[in-house]
């Protein structure tokens, strides 16, 4: 069961990454994926499993501007997971993703136990 949930989360995260990267438009998203693949071997399919490298890749392209794209991804992710997103300046992107995953897994567990 937990493995199934992890896979489900990875799928939702992949969708969130894809939607979040649309911030600048479709062509820019393709360009970002191209550079992530070229420099960090990150593809659309394996991105969810390599979040630290993904964050480094974004920063290598946009510098501090990566923060805005990360927030866009987190916004989509939290909304897909039906969790409330609070923009916390202190916690990093990967940390926020881990928190989202934990919160969602807890929520799902609670929902199952209530049924």
């Amino acid at each position: 069961m937990p493995k199934e949930r992890e896979e489900q989360f990875a799928e939702i995260l992949n969708e969130a990454l894809d939607s979040g990267l649309l911030l600048l438009g479709e062509s820019a998203r393709k360009a970002i994926y191209f550079h992530l693949k070229k420099d960090f071997s990150i593809t659309k399919e394996n991105a969810a499993g390599r979040m630290e490298a993904f964050a480094r890749g974004l920063e290598s392209i946009f510098g501090a501007g990566a923060l805005v794209i990360e927030r866009s991804i987190l916004n989509v992710l939290y909304s897909k997971l039906e969790l409330s997103y609070e923009n916390n300046e202190d916690s990093g992107f990967v940390e926020s993703l881990k928190r989202a995953r934990d919160e969602w897994l807890n929520k799902v567990r609670l929902d199952v136990s209530l049924i």
Partner: protein, 259 residues
């Protein structure tokens, strides 16, 4: 989509072009007739190069009109098209209509119109990433720009006070409009450079900021020399405009290569 050569080649082409035109201006006393032709005929080519670089970037980033990057690059390209048409207009005035210094003219109106899409493009770009800037960064930029604007105002106020009576009010408005609009562009491009400082696209913003700085210096010197009546075709100040266009071309090209 792969467009053009690799970055190293592009930088070499830019550097060789920049040095070559500097040498042409340095030794202009040996070929005054050629210099008059070069001074008026070359700008549409170098502005055309910047325009083509921006159109290449637009082609790369174009998705649909709703995409942010599509809007941004339409802005950059439209601005560069206007500046190219401005340069072409100047060349037509001087080389075909035999107007020695066509300032102000319709060409200036086209140039000034070009600032609008350029400003919108920079504004949209920076607004997208503005939340990544710290308050301190924004305050520092504002202080820098205020100091620059104030210096510019004092410089021009002093010039206007001593300007010859025959200098029309329209000329003075144009004299002031160019550097003021350049500063407006710089206020946004500096923020972009600070935001992307540690990223790959910082290189593109470095060139774009350099281009705007060159244009500011060129415009200020042009306004000053026309007010003083010391401007002539082939004046060294034209180099700043040429270097500016080369840097714009490199900036747009680098952007579409790095992202």
């Amino acid at each position: 989509m792969y467009i053009g050569c690799d970055m190293k080649t592009a930088y070499w082409i830019g550097a060789i072009l920049g040095v070559s035109i500097t040498l042409i201006y340095l030794f202009q006393e040996r070929y005054p007739d050629f210099m008059n032709l070069f001074s008026n005929a070359f700008p549409p080519f170098v502005a055309g190069a910047a325009m083509i670089a921006s159109v290449f970037a637009l082609m790369k980033y174009w998705g649909n009109l709703g995409d942010r990057f599509s809007k941004i690059w339409i802005g950059f390209s439209s601005g560069m098209v206007c500046w190219f048409l401005g340069e072409l207009g100047w060349a037509i005035y001087t080389l075909i209509l035999n107007v020695e210094i066509p300032y102000p003219s319709i060409a200036d109106v086209v140039w000034l119109i070009g600032y609008i899409p350029l400003f919108i493009a920079l504004f949209l770009y920076v607004r997208t990433f503005r939340s990544a800037t710290s308050k301190l960064m924004r305050i520092a930029t504002d202080i820098g720009l205020f100091t620059g604007s104030f210096t510019l105002f004092v410089f021009f106020a002093a010039q206007i006070l001593v300007a010859p009576v025959e200098e029309g009010i329209i000329t003075l408005i144009f004299d002031l409009a160019y550097p003021a609009l350049d500063l407006a562009l710089l206020s946004l491009s500096i923020l972009a450079l600070l935001i992307f400082a540690k990223g790959k696209i910082a290189r593109a913003w470095f060139f774009i900021n350099g281009a705007i700085l060159m244009t500011i210096v060129g415009d200020m010197l042009f306004s000053y020399t026309t007010l003083q009546g010391t401007y002539y075709n082939g004046h060294f100040l034209e180099l700043f405009f040429h270097w500016g266009y080369i840097l714009f071309a490199l900036g747009f090209y680098t952007h579409q290569k790095e992202l």
